[in-house]
């Protein structure tokens, strides 16, 4: 892959301007091309299927793992299984992300299946960004699957963002939480043109004192269509909250289906969903500060998805 293109895509999906400090694995056009491990974080190629195991030693503190994926080869359909084993008491940041540069007519696709095994009292911040660009007419398809298991007292914060260029996406995330475990998900999506985006969250609050907060903010422009499914199952004394907030612009459409299932008398679950266009008074307020209507809309959307 062209080095300049590779660098540009890495900036887009992971804010990487140079090779990062810490563990690193770059997958380009379906193969691992660069890898770096540390004393505490090992990255091992899987033998039975495409993908890697990322093994983080117990007690690892303040370290990061970057595993970007880039596709530029026309017509490529890439599928990868990445498993993260986060040892007891570790505290790490994991940055994944996938970028597609499409210059041809054929569809390009990346399906990343990420499984997280988060040990007792471990803490993970997981940042995932999806992006596509290019002059080609081929569809750019990203179907990420995220499977999370959090042991007792473990914590995971997942920030997942898809702002631009992806034609179609189905994003499946499922999680099982043990006693006292916490899961926080912040999803940001913007679709335009005839793009489609489907998000499916399923969270099982199995442990006593487990907590989940699943929040999605999205903007649907053009004639794009989004579906937001979020199911929280409270199977123990637990707290769960899911929220979908969507802004409609032009002819964008959004279908939000939050659902809660309480299977325990001590489960406390809340869902909220709000869909609508930008409030006229918000635009007027910013116009009274000297912004044009277009600038006002841009500020509101950027702030909303920040």
């Amino acid at each position: 892959m062209d080095k300049a293109l590779q660098q540009h895509m890495l900036e887009q999906i992971a804010d990487l301007h140079e090779r990062p400090v810490g563990a690193f694995n770059l997958r380009a056009d379906g193969v691992s091309v660069e890898r770096q491990t540390t004393a505490n974080i090992d990255i091992v190629t899987k033998k039975d299927k495409p993908g890697i195991d990322i093994i983080i030693a117990p007690g690892t503190k303040n370290e990061g793992v970057h595993i970007p994926v880039i596709l530029a080869q026309a017509g490529l359909k890439d599928m990868v299984y990445n498993d993260f084993f986060v040892g007891e008491g570790a505290d790490v940041t994991i940055v994944a992300g996938c970028g597609i540069s499409c210059m041809g007519e054929e569809p390009m696709q990346h399906d990343g299946i990420h499984s997280f095994h988060i040990g007792k009292d471990a803490k993970v911040r997981y940042v995932e960004k999806h992006y596509a660009e290019g002059a080609g007419s081929g569809d750019r398809i990203l179907n990420p699957v995220t499977i999370v298991e959090i042991d007792e007292g473990g914590y995971m914060e997942m920030e997942t963002t898809q702002i631009r260029g992806v034609s179609s996406t189905v994003r499946d995330t499922s999680a099982k939480l043990g006693d006292g475990a916490t899961l926080i998900i912040k999803e940001k999506i913007m679709t335009d043109g005839d793009q489609t985006a489907e998000t499916n969250f399923q969270v099982d609050l199995d442990g006593a004192g487990s907590t989940a907060d699943v929040v999605s903010r999205s903007v649907a422009k053009g004639t794009s269509y989004q579906v937001f499914n979020s199911h929280i199952h409270g199977n123990n004394e637990c707290y769960g909250h899911t929220e979908c907030d969507a802004i409609l612009m032009e002819d964008g459409r959004v279908n939000a289906i939050p659902s809660l299932e309480a299977n325990c008398i001590d489960a406390s679950l809340i869902h909220e969903a709000a869909i609508g266009k930008i409030a006229g008074e918000q635009i007027i307020k910013l116009m009274t500060l000297g912004l044009t209507e277009e600038e006002a809309e841009e500020q509101i959307v950027n702030g909303f998805l920040k």
Binding site: R217, D245, E281, Q282, K285, L286, G290, Q299, I300, F304
Partner: protein
């Protein structure tokens, strides 16, 4: 200086024309001008007409010699008109700092933004990075709204009932804010208010009732009439009503 020439505003209600503003002729010089009068008298509508939020049915608006009647809200804002809403707007995602920066119009350091917040009695450190969302109280929003107007520093500032909901903060501070603004901009400050303490600092008072200018003049001329008149009584009764 702002001139309103024969401003009329009608809306259709139950298939009938309802006159909200009737033949408003006003000249607003530099200094403090308070607009008062009973609820439903047209005060907020007049403020919106000046800011360009509402287009009058007829009449002209002249600001510093330029006819701004056909200007958009944006153009009027850029020409030097600021408008603090009676009910400030909430924004999911935008922070207090974002709004102060947008109001100021140029890049602003965090510490500069904090000065504007301190001016309205908010501990800047606690507020500057907060989202302007439902977590802020009505009183906090009102003060942030005022801070935005201070940050703009324009020739004409209109405040629609700025004192509402700021009971925890003293009136004296609010009045000091207006005085400091006046000192800096040497422009006009129009304050819509029922509060005697605000009317007390006005250079001129305009009484708007039933969409018309019922009375206008200097504070010394108007204030005594308000305090004994039936109009004042009705204002007070409305304010006291649950």
């Amino acid at each position: 200086m702002l001139e309103l020439k024969d401003i009329n505003f009608q809306v259709e209600e139950d298939a009938k024309d309802k006159e909200i503003l009737k033949h408003i002729d006003l000249t607003i010089e530099d200094g403090f001008v308070a607009i008062t009068g009973p609820n439903g008298g047209g005060k907020s509508t007049l403020a919106k007409v000046i800011a360009g939020v509402i287009k009058p049915t007829s009449g002209r608006i002249i600001f510093d010699g330029t006819d701004i009647t056909d200007m958009t809200i944006t153009e009027r804002a850029q020409a030097g008109i600021s408008f603090a809403f009676q009910q400030p707007v909430r924004f999911k995602g935008l922070t207090v700092f974002d709004l102060i920066k947008l109001a100021h119009g140029t890049d602003l350091s965090l510490s500069e933004a904090c000065t504007f917040l301190s001016d309205v009695g908010l501990c800047a450190r606690d507020y500057v990075n907060r989202e302007v969302n439902a977590s802020l109280s009505g009183g906090e929003l009102k003060r942030i709204e005022i801070a935005m107007i201070i940050a703009r520093g324009t020739k004409l500032s209109i405040f629609d009932e700025p004192e509402a909901g700021i009971d925890l903060w003293s009136f004296n501070n609010l009045i000091r804010v207006f005085e400091n603004m006046q000192e800096k901009t040497h422009g006009s400050i129009i304050i819509i208010s029922h509060q005697e303490r605000i009317l007390n600092i006005a250079d001129r008072i305009i009484v708007l009732a039933n969409g018309e200018v019922a009375n206008q003049g200097t504070r010394d001329e108007i204030l005594p009439t308000l305090l004994d008149s039936e109009a004042a009584c009705s204002v007070i009764m409305e304010k006291l009503a649950p």
